[in-house]
């Protein structure tokens, strides 16, 4: 570990999300970054600046695709236009794996553009797993699913969230993008022990980990990705690394985005957990890519 069939047997280290406010800094200064995560939908367009910037990034960096609207858990069939565009982008980026969320967000062709929580039922697990397999067959790279944060639970649920995650990934035979911040947020909103969740995840399926900051409201915690990572989330991360080995990790910072250096420095804090676990071998260099340099 962490190289496994769910992350295309790669050995990626710490990456950061490619965000528009950082474009110029990255293209001009060419900072050393192990890999960038991109939001697929932002580049599933016909032309123009998004694709031009992406191509320049691809000349120098390794990129992993992360989607926000495949909605594996929506009961309706997959959108063929979406799949076609996604497949074209996968060819362009040569992403070693592809992630999207274990959630739903559309019904009868209408999109909420939100990551809505699943009812944790066996029927939902079966439908979701089938759709994950379909996507995997189409894009021909490993598909990994990310646990979302949630603020509501359904009466009809038949199991816990982590049991549902296990049920889905076993049925789909896919990987997991473990978001430890989302686990923390949900544990606070639904009153469970986040370590129980982390301990229940099939470690051999974890292809990637997300860490992030969030906003705390009076009665609930919202996953806003606009703060540094808090200590309880680092603690969960440490446990996840203990169980999974040093795994490709990405810091999400989507709102009130600070300077590139600040985001990168926050992400690199994950290094300390890597080192505790095992001496980290710098990633295999893709042509033109920059390997992570450890202090």
């Amino acid at each position: 570990m962490p190289a496994n069939r769910f992350n295309g047997f790669t050995d990626y280290g710490i990456g950061i999300g490619l965000r528009i406010p950082h474009y110029r800094h990255i293209l001009e200064r060419k900072p050393v970054v192990d890999w960038f995560e991109i939001i697929s939908e932002n580049y599933m367009v016909d032309g123009g600046k998004p694709l031009k910037v992406l191509d320049r990034i691809l000349e120098q960096y390794r990129v992993v695709q992360h989607g926000v609207s495949m909605y594996f858990g929506s009961a309706e069939p997959l959108n063929p236009e979406h799949l076609k565009r996604l497949k074209n982008l996968v060819r362009r980026t040569r992403t070693p794996w592809l992630s999207d969320h274990l959630c739903w967000g559309s019904v009868d062709g209408t999109y909420t553009h939100d990551l809505l929580p699943m009812p944790y039922t066996f029927e939902a697990a079966r439908i979701t797993a089938q759709k994950i397999r379909q996507v995997q067959d189409t894009v021909e790279v490993p598909v990994v699913v990310e646990n979302v944060s949630s603020y509501a639970e359904y009466h009809v649920s038949e199991m816990t969230e982590w049991e549902f995650l296990n049920e889905v990934v076993e049925r789909a035979d896919c990987g997991i993008l473990l978001d430890v911040n989302n686990i923390y947020v949900s544990s606070r909103n639904h009153d469970f022990d986040p370590f129980t969740y982390v301990n229940s995840v099939p470690a051999h399926r974890v292809a990637q980990i997300h860490i992030a900051g969030h906003s705390k409201f009076e009665k609930y915690i919202l996953d806003t990705h606009d703060h540094p990572v808090i200590d309880p989330v680092w603690a969960l991360y440490a446990r996840a690394i203990e169980r999974c080995g040093p795994t490709a990790t990405l810091l999400e910072w989507d709102d009130k985005i600070p300077s590139f250096e600040e985001v990168h420095a926050e992400a690199l804090k994950a290094n300390r957990f890597f080192q505790k676990q095992a001496p980290f071998v710098p990633a295999v260099e893709a042509p033109g890519a920059r390997a992570l340099v450890l202090p």
Partner: protein, 289 residues
């Protein structure tokens, strides 16, 4: 029908329901919230579902507002707020990307004239320009046809324009107004899928309404930025004819139909336009459909 589909239809129906004027979930959703959602120690079923109802509206409203600042400048902030809610209630997103949120706005406004007030043409012109801007920003790019290839092919040639070139015939100089709005507000990213919690930008400024003036415009892209290029009537007609796949000879005829341009100026004008458009890379090698 699967249980899952049934549940998702019910949840979506509540989430997509407009918020009250206080931006809370409508009381009428209480029974459905109780039936679907578990309460916890601090939040009722209603309050938990309300988080999603609010997130949905905050997200689509802020995205829409980012895409149509020019429309807001014309109709005013208060009307704009109501208009957005009415449009998004009637036309929720049918696309996996928020980029397409405003794709049905022009059509919707044409059939819902109460939102466009006393000056429908001005409002519709602005909406068409703002939508063209979005399309020009990330429209496709095809290999370019060179002037030599055009010359060699002769008058029967049918030329495709680049997909990112949009032609507009406007009754108002909304291009000037939109540039002013963008300059003042700072042009946002055209689309983003990142969840946003912040409420709409409240920075407001009064813009003078433009006087009517016919404008022929090409909305296009150069060096990744969107530009508005004003055209002479004849050159607009020429491009329009080409975009409708008229053969070159026929497009030239249509360009000068009823034109007051003296005969001797026409050929030099044509040469100048073509040189300019070719330099901009507007002619594509894509086969005409």
């Amino acid at each position: 029908m699967s249980e899952l589909l049934n549940l998702q239809r019910r949840v979506a129906a509540v989430i997509l329901q407009p918020l009250t004027s206080a931006e809370t979930m409508r009381r009428s959703a209480k029974a459905e919230a109780d039936a679907l959602i578990k309460p916890n120690k601090v939040l009722s079923s209603f309050e938990r579902l309300e988080i999603y109802n609010q997130q949905y509206w905050f997200r689509v409203l802020s995205c829409f507002a980012e895409d149509f600042p020019g429309l807001r400048a014309i109709v005013g902030v208060r009307t704009f707020e109501k208009l957005m809610r009415a449009y998004l209630t009637d036309c929720p997103s049918r696309s996996f990307t928020l980029r397409n949120l405003g794709s049905r706005l022009e059509e919707w406004l044409s059939t819902n004239p109460k939102w466009i007030g006393s000056n429908p043409r001005l409002v519709l012109d602005m909406v068409r320009l703002e939508w063209a801007h979005i399309e020009a920003f990330d429209g496709g790019f095809e290999p370019v046809l060179t002037p030599a290839e055009i010359e060699a092919a002769g008058l029967d040639l049918r030329i495709s324009l680049q997909p990112y070139v949009r032609l507009l015939e406007l009754a108002y100089p909304v291009d000037d107004l939109l540039i002013e709005v963008h300059d003042y507000e700072g042009e946002g990213n055209v689309s983003s899928n990142a969840a946003r919690q912040s409420r709409l930008r409240t920075r407001v400024r009064h813009y003078a309404k433009p006087e009517p003036e016919p404008v022929y415009l090409a909305v296009h892209r150069a060096d990744d930025s969107v530009y508005y290029k004003r055209l002479q009537l004849e050159s607009y007609r020429m491009l329009k004819a080409l975009s409708q796949q008229a053969p070159l000879g026929n497009a030239i005829e249509r360009a000068f139909e009823g034109s007051s341009m003296p005969e001797e100026e026409r050929i030099p004008a044509l040469q100048e336009w073509f040189a300019n458009w070719a330099q901009l890379g507007w002619f594509s090698r894509a086969p005409v459909a």
